[in-house]
Symmetry: C2
Subunit: 374 residues, 2 copies
């Protein structure tokens, strides 16, 4: 439903296939090859299906703009820089993050089939969407999958006051039998930037442990946090565990730093404040040079698959069936909420915020592709 001036007024629900086809059209319109466009579209829509709206089609423009501005290459020359039976390093040649990540994870899985484990690092890449997507690719191969990436700096180290690390996600997926797979997909900060934006829109105060101001002191004003961070005016998000060692903030900081060591230092990409913002400076596109690391462990290199799956089911049930805290009726396993969202949204369609629909309509006009989401 839209007003006479063409603006959408209520939430739409759109089928996953429809959204995927729209994203593919938009990406092909900026000269992304069909196969790559299909991968980017699938990663975006997977995020929406799983309820991770901050990383879904609402971010399509980031990639089409990225290509149009020359930050992300539509036709990268991806090269294998080094390879052993269990490892490889790819240079993404400043291409879109998703296609090279998809292929790197497949390569890690092939290596796991051959020698038990595969670890594939990628340098010179761009934002790859949700980390969990790649970890989950391992599931149908009966492997445990891991995916991680560094990212532009938003997070301050313990006792610091300038953002020196990204929200650097870690994702791990492990198959189960009759239970759902375990899928952890977490930023190593207490919250990702999207949560600050939501609290700002709702006019809510930030809970403790989320953000610090330019002096490194606790910040509860969501609008100030959002503004300072977007202007790079000091302060930043806090690592998981908050600002102090007492609440374990040094552990979240340590995990974020670990991701930067693997994805920046080991992969040979940029790291910390060497990672530049996507953009154009003096007419020249600035490329962030992100790094990713993907890993797969073949379950039956360790024990028979049926034993593993039976134990995964048993472990999940023991935890879920254990007594609940006062006021709670359910204990979740990681990935369970997202799996339920995907089931519901596959059936009923993906709910799209009117602002997102308007933006996608504008994008369709700019790129001269058909708009069929309403």
């Amino acid at each position: 439903m839209s007003t006479p001036n063409g603006r959408t007024t209520k939430q739409l629900r759109v089928r996953g296939e429809t959204l995927r086809a729209f994203c593919e059209r938009a990406l092909r319109a900026v000269d992304v090859p069909s196969e790559d466009a299909a991968i980017v579209a699938d990663v975006l829509v997977a995020a929406d299906l799983r309820g991770i709206d901050s990383h879904g089609v609402a971010r399509l423009r980031r990639y089409t703009d990225g290509v149009r501005r020359g930050v992300m290459s539509a036709h990268p020359n991806v090269r294998v820089l080094a390879e052993t039976p269990a490892t490889a390093v790819l240079d993404a040649d400043a291409g879109l993050g998703q296609p090279v990540s998809y292929r790197a994870m497949q390569r890690a899985i092939e290596k796991a089939h051959a020698v038990g484990v595969g670890v594939v690092a990628v340098r010179n890449s761009n934002h790859f969407g949700i980390a969990g997507y790649y970890a989950m690719l391992a599931l149908e191969h009966d492997c445990i999958g891991m995916a991680t990436s560094n990212a532009g700096r938003l997070v301050i180290p313990t006792f610091g006051r300038e953002p020196m690390l990204g929200t650097n996600p870690i994702a791990v997926a492990a198959p189960a039998g009759s239970e759902r797979p375990y899928v952890l997909d977490m930023a190593t900060s207490t919250v990702a930037m999207g949560k600050i934006e939501i609290y700002d829109r709702l006019g809510l105060a930030l809970p403790p442990g989320w953000a610090a101001d330019r002096d490194g002191l606790p910040l509860h004003d969501a609008h100030q946090a959002r503004t300072q961070l977007s202007r790079r005016a000091g302060g930043g998000l806090l690592p998981l565990g908050g600002a102090s060692e007492t609440t374990g903030g040094h552990k979240g900081y340590g995990l974020s730093l670990l991701v930067d060591i693997l994805c920046g230092v080991l992969a040979g990409a940029a790291y910390s404040d060497r990672i530049m913002s996507e953009g154009v400076a003096g007419g020249v596109p600035t490329h962030p040079n992100l790094g990713h690391v993907f890993a797969a462990l073949r379950v039956d290199a360790f024990r028979p698959l049926d034993e593993f799956k039976a134990a995964m089911d048993d472990l999940q049930r023991r935890i879920k069936e254990s007594p609940k805290a006062a006021g709670h009726e359910r204990i979740y396993i990681h990935g369970e909420k997202e799996c339920e969202a995907a089931t519901e949204r596959s059936l009923l369609g993906i709910p799209l915020n009117p602002h997102v629909v308007d933006d996608l309509r504008s994008l369709a006009q700019e790129l001269d592709v058909p708009f069929d989401l309403e």
Copy 2:
């Protein structure tokens, strides 16, 4: 210095070599082979040197008692159950955790030399001491090392009220050039049990996010927390991030569960509340059947070693030299404090609490070995 009745009255400082030799004697007295005794002693003293007193020689009795009671085997028949070029699974045959862990990590490093990565899982094991010890074994081989273990249940899952997971540590060590190596060694709970004991002794209230009572509600009484946990009377430690999803507690819970999936389910050991306490029930020793996973990544499989080390130095300096929060003068890299403690304690000796000295003196009498720590 000791009183006429033989009790120590002030803190002693003992040289690392002296302590190591004492631990070896005690372990050999309970029939642990020399080579294994040397490994256990080295892991214990390494913890003391690094300032992790909770895992040092204060815990020697845990292992000598473990052997004497039949919980830990002094002469295990360690077997390789499965092996690929990059992976192996060992059955520790209920032996002491340290010797099998040392050998498993060495095997992971050999595999990393051969094929780029090595992952070695161990089942049917016992407590292995500090996880960081094994991760750090990779450093001299210019590998990134990782070590993790599950443990007896102390931690409650998000929205639960019974401990269903261990404090399940994760350790990662990465070499640097002229800077110190990065050494993360963290429990996946906000704090380990030792911190609760210290707060109880000092009569301090527990900070938020540390523990929950038997209803799963925040618990600030350190004595109550300590008593409930040691009696398994409900409640427990909280995962990193605390009790709620708002503060990211589900992430710490997810990391703890990940460790149990790798060390319990994948390695084929016990997990969750299937892990029994070390002890003797009805005359029969109960063995916890812990699992561990060790991994090594050979740096130069990914990029030239000198490049990696230069980037590690640069990353560390950028973070350490970034502006400090109000009231703070220093930003630390993980492992830095422990490295400084080791330098100081190597020079001045390891400070031992009088209670620990008394206990070691009693142990020497029980085992009929010379006591030379004062």
